[in-house]
Point group: C2
Chain length 470, copies 2
């Protein structure tokens, strides 16, 4: 008996007990409605996480929770098979919509903007694995995702006098491959918390951040091979330009200091692999810049050109977007020319467990709190303090780091995950976390003194309000 | 007529209008009591600064206020000459006092501890010159100042298998000289502000910080010349041991990460010049380590040995002193083994003008505020915000930097001086400053959340209370 074929769209409608809980895995479609209550672990949290996967592919979830990848589990899943996934489950292309060729994304994303696509994974998944699965990595696109033919694609390295063109194959074979584990964070991560004030920008929660292992060639090696003189004092910036462009053929662009690009310690690469596979289209296929410890915006996707210059990139995104302002600066007084570009990121942390609004049944008066902490510039996390009594007492969290590249704190590009056992009183409780990095920088206590009209760099203490049962 | 000879001690008694205002310059002694009111500029502030120089040598002050170094000014000074400085104005040596051979210091210092000598310059002088004059540079000694014969002194570079001995001459001739302008700050700078709580340590004001141009040889070059293999993964730390020791012959020691010592970007040097002259005894004559962007304690003075190791230095000062703790850690719960050593310093700023308690006559409702701002790790200062209304509104300060070595923000080892014009209301006013560094880190608002039992790393917003006249 041949099973029916279902489209992604059809599957996505089955994401509740009422409509049935469907998932796809590889090319199979499964109705797991009856299984949810049987799932081992069986805890409320597990059920919630299964529900996050409902209505879409579970492949990424199983990559994260790798315990599923056994023959036994696959046999269980096979019992629930109801059909196959349509090979043509992509929507027909609308030629008038520049975003119509954007790739498929998991329904689990919290979408801040559809076009361009800007979305973050749910907080309860974010810190379950040290390496963020590609399919769950936050997406911050500025323009439509370009379609690039990897065979004909060339990266142009233009140095004024001289110029070289590199194919993807050149990039992979002519330069020593380097793998860097780095956390990338959007300048607007946690902007939502500035929403009590007037801000301009996408209302990101705390999940516009993720960690991946990127493999590619050092920008230093590429520039040197193109004949760049690192001692040329007139050159102060290295520019990256993307393939993504708008109706006026203006493409995304950004620049970083030459010092960062050329330093052996800077670890700036042009990556062609993300966690061991080709970079997904949303993350820059086939090649993107990776600038560890810097704001996400400089990790230019769909790279088509590297140039050098005495000044910063003149792109909109370098000159008039990712800039830092004082709390007293208004849209009227903002001087974008004078304001510094956001480059290195400050220390930040956030609570991923429990979720805001949770009702908690404490064990022996203690609650387990989890989250992430990170700092830019290669700085390690030295300590995370957690409080459930308004900061009167602090518990030190246990820190976990799983970064094969970090053999000292100066190259610590990737985040730290943490867990703390915190004593809680019954009733309404605010849980607070704050991190200290290896330069002994700390997070500000509240939004007020760091508020800025663009809502960037929200790194105040993270606060989650919950109810603790008696 | 031959003028009398005076000792430093005698001169130091004449430091007020009542006792007469005496100063020395080179080998001359001058009674300038009648001149103070005639001093050009004639403002209250100028008089106060002359008073700071009274009772001691004015050479350092004139180095800072270089306008004095003209024949005209010297002629004026000559009119007030009353004698010559005693060639033997050092106190007789007490053989039972290990500190008896400590060098002469200016009476202007605010002394936190005499033995070992720990002192800071007055705040109203601190930011008058970008480069802190050697004689006014804060002193933080842990032990008596050793007497070292520069000709016989050897620096031992011990790598386990191999060892080399370097004379001062070797250091100057065998390695390329490098000059680094860097700010050095004591971990305890501004500890006084934590004094409402219980802290252990010297009660430093905001002047345990200074900036100098240091000339020396790169530690990287020295270690490579001694045969050190930078790729040896078993080696993670570079140790510095001093010549200063206590009664048990235990000398001062500290270590820094190998990454910092070996990086071309780290700019770690063994210095033999401070601002172009031999390093003064209080600052490490003849040689000291300079570790830009790190806590003062790792800039080991009177260097006698460089070693490498898999672990940090086992010295008291590395293991049981300069460490960071959570606000909830007590002397009973402090785990020095687990706590991280303080290395890179966080962003800080302080107000030098006006002084606390000043009575201010504003011009058009504005007051001029000055100060310093600095961040560790080579991070530049991006912005300084100043408020006189409790942080409701902030004025951006004008920033000044005079660092010839800093051609980009990644090597920005030295501080930024700043000036702001701030609107003030009449009455009691608290002036606040806060700085943002190039990694977008900011200072915490108050002491509470960063308080620690040792009183280190006091980088909260700096607050100065003044009275503004109607």
């Amino acid at each position: 008996q041949s099973l029916p074929i279902f489209s992604s769209e059809e599957i996505s409608k089955h994401n509740s007990k009422d409509n049935g809980i469907w998932v796809s895995y590889k090319d199979g479609v499964y109705d797991i409605t009856d299984f949810v209550d049987l799932h081992p672990g069986g805890k409320k949290l597990t059920c919630e996480k299964i529900m996050l996967a409902s209505g879409g592919p579970i492949d990424a979830f199983w990559n994260m929770y790798a315990v599923h990848k056994t023959d036994e589990v696959l046999e269980i899943l096979e019992q629930y098979k109801i059909g196959s996934l349509s090979p043509e489950d992509q929507k027909p292309i609308d030629l008038n919509d520049p975003f119509s060729k954007d790739p498929f994304r998991l329904p689990v994303f919290r979408i801040n903007s559809k076009k361009p696509f800007n979305a973050e994974p749910p907080i309860e998944l974010l810190t379950d694995s040290y390496i963020t699965p590609n399919e769950l990595f936050y997406v911050r696109n500025h323009l439509p995702v370009p379609e690039i033919d990897p065979d004909s694609h060339r990266i142009s390295v233009d140095l004024g006098d001289s110029s070289i063109q590199l194919s993807l194959e050149d990039l992979k074979t002519k330069f020593k491959p380097v793998t860097i584990t780095t956390t990338i964070q959007c300048a607007g991560n946690r902007r939502q918390e500035m929403s009590d004030f007037k801000t301009k920008g996408l209302s990101w929660g705390p999940c516009a951040i993720g960690t991946a292992r990127w493999t590619g060639a050092r920008v230093r090696d590429i520039l040197l091979s193109a004949g760049f003189d690192p001692d040329d004092k007139t050159i102060k910036h290295v520019h990256f330009n993307g393939f993504d462009d708008d109706i006026t053929n203006t493409s995304y662009g950004a620049s970083i200091p030459k010092q960062k690009a050329m330093s052996l310690d800077g670890d700036v690469i042009i990556a062609y692999k993300m966690n061991g596979v080709d970079i997904p289209r949303d993350h820059g296929y086939p090649v993107r810049a990776i600038v560890p410890g810097y704001v996400g915006a400089r990790n230019v996707k769909w790279l088509r050109q590297i140039t050098v210059g005495s000044d910063e990139s003149t792109s909109h995104w370098q000159m008039n977007d990712y800039k830092a302002f004082s709390p007293s600066t208004t849209f009227e007084t903002a001087n974008y020319k004078k304001a510094p570009s956001i480059q290195e990121m400050p220390v930040i942390s956030a609570i991923s467990v429990p979720k805001p609004g949770s009702i908690i049944d404490p064990e022996d008066g203690m609650v387990e709190v989890k989250g992430y902490a990170w700092s830019g510039g290669g700085r390690d996390i030295m300590r995370v303090d957690v409080s459930a009594d308004g900061g009167n007492t602090w518990q030190e969290a246990s820190l976990t780091k799983d970064d094969p590249d970090a053999d000292d704190s100066a190259h610590c590009w990737a985040w730290t995950l943490w867990t703390a056992e915190v004593p809680v009183a019954a009733g309404k409780v605010e849980i607070i976390c704050k991190a200290i990095d290896s330069a002994n920088n700390c997070q500000p206590e509240w939004i007020g003194p760091i508020w800025n009209l663009r809502g960037f760099l929200t790194n105040a203490w993270h606060r989650v309000n919950v109810t603790v049962e008696n």
